[in-house]
């Protein structure tokens, strides 16, 4: 038995959070973002803090090191670091209460990054864009240890090697924007590990990454933890990730911890109703919606209504002035063949940069198409090719094919009332009079489950889920036939995702719609879509019935994608064989 295992068995508590409270002071009085939270971190163990957005989990993690941005303020409790129990301890009893230290004092600065290190969600914005990777990683070493520049560089190279960044000698002098998202997160981890911290706080470190990269980052964190006996505080909203890596779980809601326990205990026997609901909504997602299956029984899927025939889209190509040939540029969509049938839900799945959004925009003909045809069958059964059409000719197809976007915060104009937002496409259409439009908007609000009082209010008064309902109302306003939902649920909490998808199904039944759902989330597609198309680097590598593709994927890329998706069940952890896909070049 190694020392690591012994320590793990001994269950050494290295960090204790007792009755931690953090307030945000505003003119309307203080708001408690973290309310009386008590947690314990053990050496070599991972504690996952789970909660939906706004549950205070992030603020809690920042309170530990007292780096909450103002007006946030830690207002009570203790955070005890038992230094004598760690590798750094000198043997004698040494317990530090981090909250007693002045947030600007050198005492707490010495602990930050050395004893307790953090990694953050956005690898893009969490690294300075104008400093070299080596500089940012090496800085952490030079801050806490007296080493020469040369030595720090050596150690940085070693760290980059440890987090498996290819060609570290070159990477050390590169800038973050030259890295992919996964590589940036690796650099962040290297920076956090610079001084062998006792505690690693990871605040949603994989949320912004693709699933295959997420799986690799989780592997990396786990292997480093095993090596160094680090205690990890892992913050996430993804139950799949929790099942994958947690030893213990704390569920947070409205700033309070509602339930803590062992990972198996919580997954199999959740006590708090909120935990039960959270788990239910996750489990519900990973299988086909029964409602959808019942709907298809009643009304089977019809003929193809939107067909992409060999669509190709090249960005930034330089067209020669004399010849008509196209050279260079980025091929975003490469000879895509796809058909959407009436009354069907088609899912397009792929990782970031796979061209799924571009394909969606080409299908709607918001983008010009480099070559290929987009065959749309309109309400009167006439087949039109949208690809060569001018803007004037597209006016009607654009009313028939509409989009719901990903980000409910930036896709609504904050200066317009909900009524104005929803009525805009109707005003552009110019068929209805003012009072008719008003009536129609009230009807639409009811259809998407919003109160009539929403009409006069502005987007900021609504939550993410409600805003997405507004987006949907705007999309269905001119009586469309096809809706392209581009990551429409990605920005929402899990419990809201099913609600929005159910709303879309509801509308499908009432209004006779066909959907294209673009997503990176297999679970969402499995719930909502009848058929699925898998995209990889601009190509559609596999299409087929959703269940068939999900259970017996044929293409190797689909296999690797599916094997990387974390399953929300701790019992199957480590049993699934991960397939890695490398394109033959």
């Amino acid at each position: 038995m190694s020392t690591t295992d012994m320590n793990t068995k001994a269950n050494t508590t290295v960090l204790e959070i007792k009755n931690l409270s953090t307030e945000f002071v505003s003119k309307r009085g203080p708001f408690r973002a973290v309310d009386d939270v008590s947690l314990e971190l053990h050496a070599g163990k991972t504690l996952c803090v789970v909660g939906e957005s706004g549950s205070g989990k992030s603020v809690m993690s920042r309170s530990i090191l007292q780096i909450v941005d103002p007006p946030g303020r830690v207002c009570g409790g203790e955070v005890l670091l038992h230094r004598h129990r760690t590798a750094r301890g000198m043997g004698e009893e040494e317990t530090i209460d981090l909250l007693k230290l002045n947030p600007k004092s050198s005492a707490i600065r010495n602990l930050r990054g050395r004893d307790i290190a953090m990694i953050f969600q956005e690898p893009m914005s969490s690294l300075s864009p104008v400093h070299r990777i080596g500089d940012q990683v090496g800085e952490a070493i030079r801050l806490h240890e007296r080493v020469s520049k040369k030595e720090a560089r050596e150690r940085t190279l070693e760290l980059l090697r440890k987090v498996e960044i290819p060609r570290p000698e070159k990477a050390i002098d590169q800038f973050p924007f030259e890295f992919s998202g996964g590589m940036r997160q690796r650099a962040m981890i290297a920076m956090a590990l610079a001084c062998n911290p006792t505690v690693l706080i990871a605040d949603e470190p994989t949320t912004a990454l693709d699933v295959t990269i997420q799986a690799e980052i989780l592997d990396l964190i786990r292997s480093i933890q095993k090596e160094s006996d680090m205690a990890v505080l892992f913050i996430t909203h993804d139950m799949g990730v929790v099942a994958e890596i947690a030893d213990e779980i704390a569920v947070m809601r409205f700033g309070k911890v509602v339930e803590t326990g062992d990972v198996y205990e919580i997954f199999e026997n959740p006590k708090h109703p909120y935990t039960q609901r959270l788990l239910n909504s996750v489990r519900e997602l990973d299988r086909p919606s029964e409602r959808r299956l019942a709907m298809r029984e009643k009304r089977p899927v019809g003929e193809p209504c939107l067909v992409s025939d060999g669509v190709r889209k090249v960005f930034g190509a330089s067209k020669s002035w004399f010849k008509k040939e196209v050279s260079g540029g980025l091929v975003a969509v490469n000879d895509a063949y796809l058909e959407l049938r009436t009354g069907e839900n088609l899912g397009i799945v792929g990782e970031s940069g796979s061209g799924k959004t571009t394909l969606g925009r080409c299908l709607q003909r918001v983008h010009d198409v480099t070559s290929g045809h987009i065959l749309y069958t309109n309400a009167s059964g006439q087949e039109l090719d949208l690809a060569p059409m001018s803007e004037g000719e597209l006016a009607q197809p654009w009313r028939d094919i509409r989009t719901v976007f990903q980000d409910p915060f930036s896709s609504l104009n904050p200066r317009m009332t909900i009524g104005q937002i929803i009525s805009e496409p109707l005003i552009v259409e110019g068929k209805l009079s003012g009072s008719q439009i008003r009536e129609r908007v009230y009807e639409l609000l009811e259809l998407v489950g919003l109160p009539a009082s929403a009409f006069m209010r502005y987007p900021h008064a609504f939550s993410g889920g409600q805003r997405q309902r507004v987006s949907i109302a705007r999309a269905i306003a001119p009586n469309p036939r096809i809706i392209i939902a581009d990551e429409a649920t990605s920005a929402l909490d899990v419990s809201l995702r099913t609600q929005i998808l159910d709303l879309l199904l509801d509308l499908q039944e009432r209004l006779d719609l066909s959907f294209i759902l673009i997503s990176h989330d297999i679970a969402v597609i499995r719930y909502f879509c009848d058929r699925i198309a898998v995209m990889y680097r601009g190509r559609i590598v596999e299409t087929g019935d959703t269940e068939e593709v999900c259970t017996t994927p044929k293409h190797e890329y689909t296999q690797s994608l599916l094997s990387a998706v974390p399953v929300a069940d701790p019992r199957v952890r480590g049993q699934k064989q991960r397939v890695r896909y490398h394109e033959a070049t």
């Binding site: 600007k104 600065r109 602990l111 290190a117 953050f120 969490s126 800085e139």
Partner: protein, 328 residues
């Protein structure tokens, strides 16, 4: 990478300068009439009889009867060889007239720029980091006053104060005895003694706006995730602010050099009149009024060149500061 970028920018500056010279020449020939017309007007005002034949002869001698494009080419070939033509009004080569004045103007502009930066940068950073503190309010108030006060008014006030309370000699850039003396170290010291008044006057309004620019930029950057990352690393507050957000917030600040340069020169005309500075501004105004086209043309061309050079300098500085620009 950086060298290639600088070279590319330099090469681009050449056609730009050519276009600018064309526009400069078009602008000075744009007003109706020419130097001869205004010369005739001056003559007839003083009661002289103007002989049409004589005017035509003059026009022919100066080449003013030629079409625009021919005039331009005669002018620009001269300019390329360093000959800016003859000033009608002064009957002297333009080159002799402008160089010293241009040099003084550029010195004044550069000193003002340095002064502006030295004052605006620290105040901007302080105001952003200590947002809504008493210091921030004080600087903001002073800044707005500086922004709202016309330069010439401020010049008058400062002159009065300097003369009445300190007995300083405030007009011009040199004392009497150095006025026409050749350049020497003592003359330089004398220049330094005089130049601070116009520098402060011209600098205040620019400082005020730059403080606002820096404050707004830095406020945007202060709560970015990379700042939190640096804090979690254990960096001390001031060091991390100077190293990370300031470095990024300074970008728009650097871009201001491009337009600050020509603005400082042309915007200084009124102040230069009030302080009777021997800089380019007053002479240029006079040349424009008299339609002394070669003299005015030389000034406008040099001002345009300064803008182009200013832009070049700010672009290169930006590329040095921000690798993202270099790599595109």
């Amino acid at each position: 990478m950086l060298f290639a970028y600088i070279l590319r920018r330099m090469v681009w500056a050449v056609p730009l300068l050519f276009a600018v010279s064309l526009i400069a020449f078009a602008l000075i020939s744009a007003p109706p009439g020419d130097y001869i017309t205004s010369f005739a007007a001056t003559l007839s005002q003083s009661g002289d009889i103007v002989d049409q034949a004589r005017l035509d002869a003059l026009r022919e001698r100066y080449g003013l009867d030629q079409p625009f494009i021919v005039q331009y080419f005669q002018w620009i070939t001269g300019v390329v060889q360093g000959d800016f033509g003859i000033s009608f009004e002064w009957q002297q080569p333009v080159g002799q007239l402008i160089w010293e004045r241009m040099a003084l103007s550029v010195t004044l502009a550069l000193s003002t720029l340095v002064f502006t930066w030295a004052v605006a940068l620290p105040i901007g950073i302080y105001s952003a980091v200590r947002k809504y503190s008493i210091g921030d309010y004080i600087f903001t108030t002073i800044g707005f006053i500086g922004l709202a006060t016309p330069n010439f008014l401020f010049a008058l006030v400062l002159m009065y104060v300097a003369v009445a309370y300190f007995g300083a000699d405030v007009s011009g850039l040199f004392s009497q005895q150095y006025q026409d003396a050749p350049w020497s170290f003592a003359k330089l010291v004398d220049l330094a003694k005089h130049i601070w008044i116009p520098v402060v006057i011209l600098g205040t309004s620019a400082t005020a706006s730059l403080v606002r620019v820096m404050r707004a930029n830095l406020l945007d950057e202060l709560h970015r995730p990379y700042v939190t990352t640096a804090r979690a690393k254990g960096l001390s507050e001031w060091r991390l602010i100077l190293k990370y957000p300031v470095r990024i917030a300074i970008n728009p600040f650097v871009s201001t050099i491009g337009w600050a340069f020509p603005q400082l020169i042309s915007g200084a005309v009124i102040t230069a009149f009030v302080l009777s500075l021997p800089t380019a501004g007053p002479l240029m105004l006079q040349a424009l009024l008299a339609q002394d086209m070669y003299l005015a043309g030389a000034f406008i061309l040099l001002l345009c060149c300064l803008s182009v050079v200013g832009m070049l300098v700010s672009d290169i500085l930006l590329a040095v500061i921000d690798p993202r620009i270099r790599f595109r």
